[in-house]
Symmetry: C2
Subunit: 325 residues, 2 copies
């Protein structure tokens, strides 16, 4: 068979699939959400619930076992807020999956419950990939709904509709839909020197370096956002941009758009307001950082992070192409 | 030189550049926006202003010439709302570019002014590409600011900050940032039958067919959004997904993410609620539709639309690869 437009070389056919939070297999039935869909879902026997305090998933723990799935009756003592429950979708078995915020704070939960931030869920592999994807969807929607209790146009209270995917103003009827913030995250590569550009923000763990990143601005293409953010944070000029992978990132409701950028300059000038350090790493250095732990002098983000994916795939790509693998 | 990760074949090195609204060359100085930046920009002699009534750009017209650039004094009779003015950025000459909403409605403007929707600006080529990019940025920000006059968390009034890129609640200090909605738009291709999938919504102009499209949902990768929207609207299963181009789309503030999808089935089942028709077109049919006008039985979106780009590049791609071009 001759090459076609889908035959572009990459170390994996769909790198997005290898990022944390991406394995959501629910049938969302996005076009068929009704105002009573949560109520109907909760009435289905065997419906399992993901419960959240703020944006933290509540895990039941009983010795070694962590269980994120609640039956409705198990929620009673956690003050479930069913009026703000969200229908995520349906499992392959037909079982609905519902997310329920609870009104008890993380600090007031008894010891048998472990409230956990999404980041820790994937970093510590506390729940399986598919559930992680469901959590990403749930947290993004919980965050959006809780930040839009009032109408931005007139200040009146809004009401949740169609299972958490719309809010309507009780006075002016302004409609609001869930928000997803596109963020570009890029590995800028110097092809000649076989090096990549990594940096650290002031809030990073000591020793950690990652890809540069930033929000796509209004009126900007993905490629222009990659070039603007890179030059702003590092002074490095970027030419060609290649999309590689995307990842849902529910802090609070982003879509990470992972790209490679081709470096067109080498001298780094950092923006000290935003970055603590930006530097070039050779392929060998970057490879070592992927496998190093947080005790190493320099280390990269953990597996599941899209920055890890961009780095690892660049290394594998280079090795395979140069015949070293 | 051996192939590197940026050497992937496409009819154009960066197809995003060929979409309308993408040619914004302003230096945004995104990290250095201050609360007095608009005031300072307006004080610079020779600053030009883009003026808007709602989301329509106001063009001055004097016989045949349409001019979108106002000096501050020229705005006086249009009731300029300088408190809600936005600093877009700086031209290469150092000249600041400011967007100013006016309080006079489109209907009340005198005949020398022509208020024009962004879509008409590009469809009728009324202003140059670079200005079109500035308009995309301006309209997205005007739309976002006007929809967020009140705090979503507590309902109190919000205040515009840093030239229109932040709003802060006057009571609870909740901070809000501009919103950009990622939308996937995809040309699904049947490689074996050399055909592509196009559809029409109920509101389309008679005869027009375009790519399927839809908002990326919370907790979804780009690839999964392409597959979900395609199967929802057409019943067609998609396998591999390839990103191709992106486009700012300021109605009200979207980022179009253009992809190719590889069809894995052929039998179409439309969702009659959302689509009026979806069908397969051969490459020859699609090529004819690109060059046909609105009087033709079937025609495709105009040049500048990302759907046009996806179609034209698929056709060129196929022709070059099969040796026909």
């Amino acid at each position: 068979m001759t090459a076609n437009l889908f035959d572009i070389y990459a170390p994996h056919p769909e790198p997005s699939e290898l990022t944390a939070f991406s394995q959501n297999k629910l049938d969302r039935q996005a076009e068929y959400r009704q105002d009573d869909c949560v109520e109907k879902a909760l009435a289905v026997e065997g419906t399992h619930i993901l419960a959240f305090t703020g944006s933290r998933l509540i895990l039941k723990h009983d010795g070694q076992i962590l269980d994120p799935l609640f039956a409705a009756y198990e929620l009673a003592e956690l003050k479930p807020d069913f009026d703000n429950a969200i229908l995520l979708g349906y499992r392959e078995t037909g079982e609905p999956r519902v997310a329920v915020p609870v009104l008890i704070s993380a600090d007031d939960l008894s010891a048998q419950y472990k409230p956990t931030e999404p980041r820790a869920l994937f970093r510590d592999s506390l729940i399986e990939e598919e559930l992680l994807g469901e959590v990403a969807q749930a947290v993004a929607l919980i965050n959006w709904n809780s930040a839009n209790k009032f109408c931005g146009k007139c200040g009146s209270p809004t009401e949740m509709k169609i299972g958490g995917y719309k809010r309507v103003c009780t006075k002016c009827e302004h409609m609001m839909f869930p928000r997803t913030d596109p963020v570009v995250i890029m590995l800028t590569v110097d092809l000649e020197r076989d090096s990549c550009l990594l940096g650290r923000s002031h809030h990073f763990q000591e020793g950690m370096y990652s890809c540069l990143a930033g929000f796509v601005e209004p009126g900007e293409t993905i490629e222009n956002a990659v070039r603007r953010e890179t030059v702003e944070e590092s002074g490095i000029l970027v030419g060609r941009v290649r999309y590689h992978a995307s990842q849902p990132w529910p802090m609070p409701h982003s879509l990470m758009i992972g790209c490679y950028g081709e470096a067109k300059s080498t001298d780094i000038t950092i923006d000290p307001q935003e970055m603590q350090d930006v530097r070039w790493f050779t392929r060998a250095e970057a490879a070592a950082m992927l496998d190093a732990g947080p005790d190493a002098k320099h280390f990269a983000p953990v597996r599941g992070a899209i920055a890890h994916r961009l780095l690892r795939d660049w290394i594998e790509w280079s090795e395979e192409r140069s015949g070293k693998a």
